[in-house]
Symmetry: C2
Amino acid sequence: MATPKQLHLTAFMRPVSLHTGAWRYPGSYPDANFNLAHLKHFIQRLEAAKFDAFFMADHLAVLNMPLEALQRSHTVTSFEPFTLLSALSVVTTKIGLAATASTTYDEPYHIARRFASLDHLSNGRAAWNVVTTGNPESARNFGLDEHLEHSERYKRAREFHSVVTGLWDSFADDAFVRDPESGVYFDPQKLHVLDHHGAALHVRGPLNIARPVQGWPVIIQAGQSEPGRQLAAETAEAVFCSPRDLDAGKALYADIKARATAAGRHPDHLKILPAAFVVVGDSVEDARAKRRQLDSLVYYDSAIASLSIALGTDAAAFDPDAPLPVAEIPETNASKTGREGVLRLAREENLTVRQLAQRYGGYSGLAFVGTPESIADEMEVWLREDAADGFTVVFPFLPQGLDAVVDHLVPELQRRGIFREDYEGTTLREHLGLPRPANRFFS
Amino acid sequence: MATPKQLHLTAFMRPVSLHTGAWRYPGSYPDANFNLAHLKHFIQRLEAAKFDAFFMADHLAVLNMPLEALQRSHTVTSFEPFTLLSALSVVTTKIGLAATASTTYDEPYHIARRFASLDHLSNGRAAWNVVTTGNPESARNFGLDEHLEHSERYKRAREFHSVVTGLWDSFADDAFVRDPESGVYFDPQKLHVLDHHGAALHVRGPLNIARPVQGWPVIIQAGQSEPGRQLAAETAEAVFCSPRDLDAGKALYADIKARATAAGRHPDHLKILPAAFVVVGDSVEDARAKRRQLDSLVYYDSAIASLSIALGTDAAAFDPDAPLPVAEIPETNASKTGREGVLRLAREENLTVRQLAQRYGGYSGLAFVGTPESIADEMEVWLREDAADGFTVVFPFLPQGLDAVVDHLVPELQRRGIFREDYEGTTLREHLGLPRPANRFFS
């Protein structure tokens, strides 16, 4: 029997969790934003469970929200991802290390250099999550009043990717001969000066770093907009996306793989890894109760604002402890998809207005909430029906939410033969089944 | 008896050494540029010897030299300092970690964030070497044809320092209450939005990092030009300078301390740490022989070019294996100080043209070459005569040059009671005897 299609798992991390109520969950580590010991523990558990990568989310600003809500958020501050992942590279040996870096507010020489350095430090485990930075607050931290316009950001991102990968190719893999006898440290025939002059960027090169262990660190992308999908199809090797359900996942998977093929790439060289909020319980009801408890810790005033946006009407006027008064919600003001999602959720889980609001203020994307078996069943469906090549796992709370995945879900996936029992290789490219890129200047 | 004035020691590092011939020296590690194990060994030895800090030199370009010379240089490529020092922070507990970052080719929000993050990761051991980047090759890696003019660079640097330290003060030290009961994560009264609008920079803030452990990472400066000295006097807490001899050291020391006092600072809060190339031998002649062997590994064509610049005449025309023909050197073309330095050196050590050239192509700054006792004698004179508060030690070759300092020179300095037997505190500020800065927005 052939080996079934294998699942890839990356952990999408914030030190305390992405969920805004998580720091108040019993047993959590509210100080993890600046406590390396906790992060070391998390990544070592994920490596023991053979996760493909540890992916650190990032922002280039304190998030733009009213101070009344901001003061309740644990996501305002944390270690900067490069310094953190470099530190974590020393206490791990196999797991991939993915960091976000912005093509809008940074320089290609800096980005190329840092990812190449992390790739050398970690012996081939670095990945770059290419973002164009949608948060307009960031602009004002970098000397700009106005955020760069969306399509301009994507044009710059495409050129930026080309420059960064070109800089990574500055030296041939075998450039450094280091022969003490002749005194020749590197072969000058194996040095390429990029000398890039494009629409947005002028970068001479060469990079002052040897070619990365992986050739290029793995390229990750998250965009789901039209230019975001196209950029991913042309450049990404892993796509971290957020389809709301299986049908949306299948459509997105087919679209991005088709675009990659059209761009002349092998579709297997681009892995689609939807973000999934995973809550494991002893029973489905136990998992749902955990999630309800977590949601109940979300600050209500912010939560009701999120729900109001999703519904397109002021939900603060409703009785928070009664079911959603569907008849009172005007049809025209909200986006149809958003509104239908809310109504479906209210129906399915029989949630009050407060509970619905706190769900929206916590985490409202794709979620697998159940037993190890039920979650593995869902993951298998996504894998088999070509909606995913794996998942970008979001933990509801730490450390327990991570422990439950590592201790119960991963063994169930391994038992089914769809997730590795051990790493097959040593680099992130090897974990993800991605080829090592040829050097564009030296073959 | 009062404790004598204490010496501070920082190690000024490149992975293979700063000396261009070092990678060919017997027993050296030519691959150390991308071999973390070697760097881990070096820093752990320096920490065991109670060095104040490990300082990683840096460049933002492949150095501008003819390819014929470039191919012989081990200084072309190496780990990027932030990723490297973050990794090394995990394998050390006390030694300071100093990185260079440019105010000309980077953004204050990025710089503030990375140093704050390194300071949190290392529990208060980060230092920022503020450079304006004099290498014109760098400009072309960052979209500019022309290098920013010298005085413009220093004006920007002064404003940049003010913005970065202002961002570090975004949160009061006790801002983060993290009270799960009330749901308040930080006290909003203890958050300051910088909203800086200056001549060169516009940065809103706040920084998305808690105030650094040290309040501010330690500020280091190297400039010796007029604006460089003034910037150091106003902002630096450690000055890494290059006086050529004791008299020049005393003059520079007095000048910078006086400028600091005039700027309203306590002169003890700015440590003067001249760079010193330290070669330890069993005898003075043994140490000199080691240095001659090292110099002999410098590529002659580059070396003779360096000597020609120092003399202001084409030295390639002289017989390389004869003494310097002083009478044949025109008086007018060279800078007087540089020319006199060469002539003194030629006289003192009785060097041939080749040896002189290779000295200039290797390391031509202040050097202490001798026995542990003779070097300790020299260091004591600098300390006692107020030419230095310590030294920025440059190792001739690694690992042996470092081992000799750690195993023989440091114990001699300890025996004399001028260097610590153990760390007194845990942060770099404590090692250097520097106060923790008050938060300018919260007292």
